[in-house]
């Protein structure tokens, strides 16, 4: 509970001994806040003043009044002018305006007198309009309606003769207060007196300003320039010339700066990372507008080579992978991808719909101090964890199998697979069981799920996760996926999340940057091809509900993705079908010298910099015939691949 603020100052100060008096003082408003409050008070003070004025009126003699009347007249006129300025659209007071304007021409006493004199009513009106528009910026709130204005005029006539004096005296003594009231006057427009003070205060300044506006007006209407104005014009011209010169200089400077100096081939100077980053940017900008910015001595190839070297040093990739990435992405996207690959993806979890619902889980986790959000509209089970006070892998909910820690991207292949209840489904390389358990959840523990992995150590994770998540319809096997068709066939659906080079998940395992070379990739895609063919062979094309194969990798290289699919399309009676994922980038149909199958655009690619998930590839195939097209050449090809494969 906060302390009660006392808005009335200086009231009720407790005195004497006792605990209460020793207590901390009541909070005081800071000065800048106080100002406005005082302003409000001030208004009431003005009312007090008014009262005093009223009293004084009675007390002071009429004779004195008469003496002051002459002065007041003048004031009134000026005040009248300022009020008129505030009210633009007053039709009935036009005549009075004219009168006042006439008076003005006599009443003015400053140095503008000379040129103001010949001014006719018309001109003053114009100037008024001009003024009012200028003033409107700060005074639009003070504009009054016609009636108000007229009443005020009449009020002013009788009441302000005295008050003007009073206020002017106040002005002298309490400048600060007046300033405050100035501020307030903008807020409170109905208070006539404030308006008056304004007129008084602004009299000297405003009139000058007004005159300037009028001057400008004159140049338009009369073409009769004053010496000051002429000077002004000259000055402006001078300024313009100077500015032009400065701009030219600046441009020439920029040009000289932008010209990127191609470094000598021999120079092996060690550059700092920042220098390299700077150079990367420069080279990219040169390459973007090559014909204009290029250095004639060097070809585009040289520039690309330099860029590749720099990128390799800056992001610590090896030459091979960087070359592949440069072939894969346009330059600007490449930088985005590399940057995104440095940053960790947000932690995502998948609700285990076998044991709980997402809403309940979210509530339970929020109670544990976890900050989370749904992963997106496309998934009903995913949750993104922004921050957590407890380790997400050790909460009682996790141990009870209410959720599984899983990348957002690994939800996609299962969604593409769209498993149905009472089907027979195979996950050919399942460890650690995230996707497989997702399949089981979608099947609601009906049918049979075969989860296979070749690695005996990793299969333990599958066992643990399945038991934890309560998957009961599973058969966990540990064998070579390529031999699966000889053991068991007639699956309705097969998911193949193939082992890959992992170029899409550089954030998870940075060793990918340097450890992969041409041979590794070749090894990968050979294995992938064989696994995919095995997966296709496992599927029963005559299945009433299924006959689908989903192929996915966490690699972004086309060699491991489109090329593998293309190979399978040639070797087996399968066709590509839509993945059912409504986002992601379409797969390549043409990539460099490769011309893939024309339906390759049905596959989906996901990138860290575009979709904020791991780099991923998903393709869905439908088997339309169980017959394996026999071709001698092809068979040789398979055997060749099998031989070349190390595993």
């Amino acid at each position: 509970m906060g302390r009660k603020a006392t808005f009335k100052e200086g009231t009720l100060k407790k005195k004497g001994p006792g605990r209460k008096s020793k207590k901390q003082k009541d909070p005081v408003f800071p000065k800048f806040l106080k100002e406005t409050e005082e302003g409000v008070k001030k208004l009431s003070r003005r009312q007090k003043l008014r009262l005093q004025k009223g009293l004084k009126k009675k007390v002071e003699s009429i004779a004195k009044r008469k003496i002051t009347q002459d002065k007041n007249e003048q004031n009134q006129i000026i005040k009248g002018q300022s009020i008129k300025v505030k009210s633009q659209n007053i039709k009935p007071t036009k005549t009075s305006k004219k009168l006042i304007a006439k008076k003005q021409s006599h009443g003015f006493s400053d140095d503008n007198k000379t040129w103001l004199k010949p001014k006719s009513i018309k001109k003053s009106e114009i100037s008024d309009d001009e003024d009012s528009t200028q003033m409107s910026a700060d005074e639009d709130s003070t504009q009054m309606s016609d009636e108000e204005h007229s009443t005020q005029m009449s009020d002013d006539e009788d009441s302000t003769q005295m008050s003007d004096h009073e206020i002017s005296s106040v002005n002298n003594s309490e400048d600060v207060e007046n300033e405050e009231s100035m501020i307030n006057s903008e807020e409170d427009n109905s208070d006539e007196e404030v308006a008056k003070i304004r007129s008084l205060n602004d009299m000297s300044d405003d009139s000058d300003e007004d005159d300037e506006f009028v001057e400008k007006n004159d140049t338009v209407s009369d073409e009769d320039l004053l010496p000051i104005e002429k000077k002004n014009k000259l000055l402006k011209k001078k300024l313009a010339i100077e500015k032009k010169l400065a701009d030219e200089e600046l441009e020439s400077n920029i040009e000289s700066q932008e010209k990127f100096q191609f470094p000598d081939a021999d120079s092996n100077e060690v550059l700092s990372l920042q220098d390299i980053q700077h150079r990367i940017r420069e080279v990219i900008s040169v390459l973007a507008d090559f014909s204009k910015l290029r250095d004639l001595k060097h070809s585009r190839l040289d520039y690309m080579e330099l860029l590749k070297q720099d990128l390799c040093t800056y992001y610590s990739y090896n030459d091979f992978l960087m070359e592949r990435l440069m072939q894969l992405f346009p330059l600007f996207e490449l930088l985005e991808f590399l940057e995104a690959s440095e940053v960790q993806r947000p932690l995502t979890i998948r609700t285990n719909s076998l044991k709980t619902r997402r809403r309940d889980l979210a509530q339970a986790l929020i109670n544990r101090g976890v900050n989370l959000d749904p992963v997106g509209k496309w998934s009903k089970e995913g949750l993104v964890i922004y921050s957590a006070q407890v380790p997400m892998g050790a909460t009682p909910e996790y141990l009870a199998g209410h959720y599984m820690i899983q990348g957002a991207s690994s939800l996609l292949p299962v969604m593409a697979l769209a498993p149905q209840e009472n089907e027979r489904i195979l996950d050919l390389s399942s460890a650690p069981g995230g996707k497989a358990s997702h399949i089981a959840a979608l099947m609601k523990n009906t049918g049979v799920l075969f989860a296979n992995d070749i690695n005996k150590d990793r299969i333990r994770a599958v066992v643990g996760n399945f038991h934890r998540l309560g998957v009961t319809n599973s058969v966990i096997t540990c064998m070579d996926g390529r031999k699966y068709p000889s053991t068991l066939k007639d699956f309705d659906r097969v998911l193949l999340d193939a082992p890959c080079s992992g170029t899409g998940v550089v954030t998870k395992d940075t060793s990918v940057k340097t450890s992969k070379d041409e041979q590794d990739v070749q090894r990968c895609y050979n294995l992938q091809r064989q696994l995919l063919l095995a997966a296709i062979d496992c599927v029963n094309a005559k299945s009433s509900t299924g006959g689908y194969i989903v192929y996915s990798t966490c690699s972004i290289l086309p060699e491991e993705n489109e090329w593998v699919i293309d190979y399978a399309l040639k070797k087996r009676n399968v066709k590509l079908v839509s993945t059912g994922l409504d986002f992601g980038v379409e797969g390549f149909v043409n990539y460099r010298h490769h011309r893939f199958h024309r339906t390759m655009n049905l596959t989906k690619r996901f990138y860290p910099h575009k979709h904020n998930m791991d780099g991923f590839f998903v393709a869905k195939l439908k088997k339309w015939s169980n017959v394996i097209p026999q071709n001698h050449e092809n068979k040789d090809d398979i055997e060749e691949n099998a031989n070349s494969d190390v595993e």
């Binding site: 009682p396 141990l399 299969i459 399945f466 009961t472 319809n473 058969v475 064998m479 068991l488």
Partner: protein, 155 residues
């Protein structure tokens, strides 16, 4: 209760000293796979030790919890302690089912009715009432913390 279910016949099968509880339909398919390749079928309930004693595994918890006679509920601070493999002291005891006898097997729950593991009652319900706060009420046997503590030798 566990054998004849509305969704078909279920059975217990022993494989490599482990006892699995699985639907017969799945079992039929699993039989086609060579034994040395088969890792797990359905849910593992427990295993026979070398001395031929049967030990329940934590993986059976979700099946056994609904049929448990004796239950113990833990307070939130004790919950964490139990999941690290510690015994339950009187201070951490939230509730205990009536008529629990000494050395009965119990299923341990959290206060939000989440089954946490198996234990053995160290005291009967009556004895629990007048007990020092630090003396243990339930001995730890198995808990779901084992899923991450000992994932390697879960089976």
């Amino acid at each position: 209760m566990l054998i004849e279910r509305p969704d078909g016949m279920y059975c217990f099968r022993e494989q490599k000293d482990r006892v699995y509880y699985v639907s017969e339909k799945i079992l039929k398919l699993a039989n086609t796979i060579q034994h040395n390749h088969l890792i797990s079928v359905g849910t593992c309930f427990g295993k026979f030790t070398k001395s031929n004693k049967f030990r329940l595994n934590i993986t059976a918890l979700s099946y056994l919890a609904p049929y448990a006679q004796a239950k113990i509920w833990l307070k939130p601070p004790a919950e964490q302690q139990f999941l690290f493999g510690n015994h339950v002291s009187k201070a951490g005891l939230g509730r205990i089912s009536e008529n629990t006898k000494k050395y009965d097997g119990v299923v341990v729950y959290s206060m939000s009715d989440l089954p946490l593991g198996f234990g053995v009652a160290a005291r009967s319900t009556v004895e629990c009432k007048n007990l020092e706060p630090l003396s243990s009420v339930c001995f730890h046997q198995a808990d779901i913390g084992e899923y991450i503590r000992s994932e390697e030798d879960l089976l």
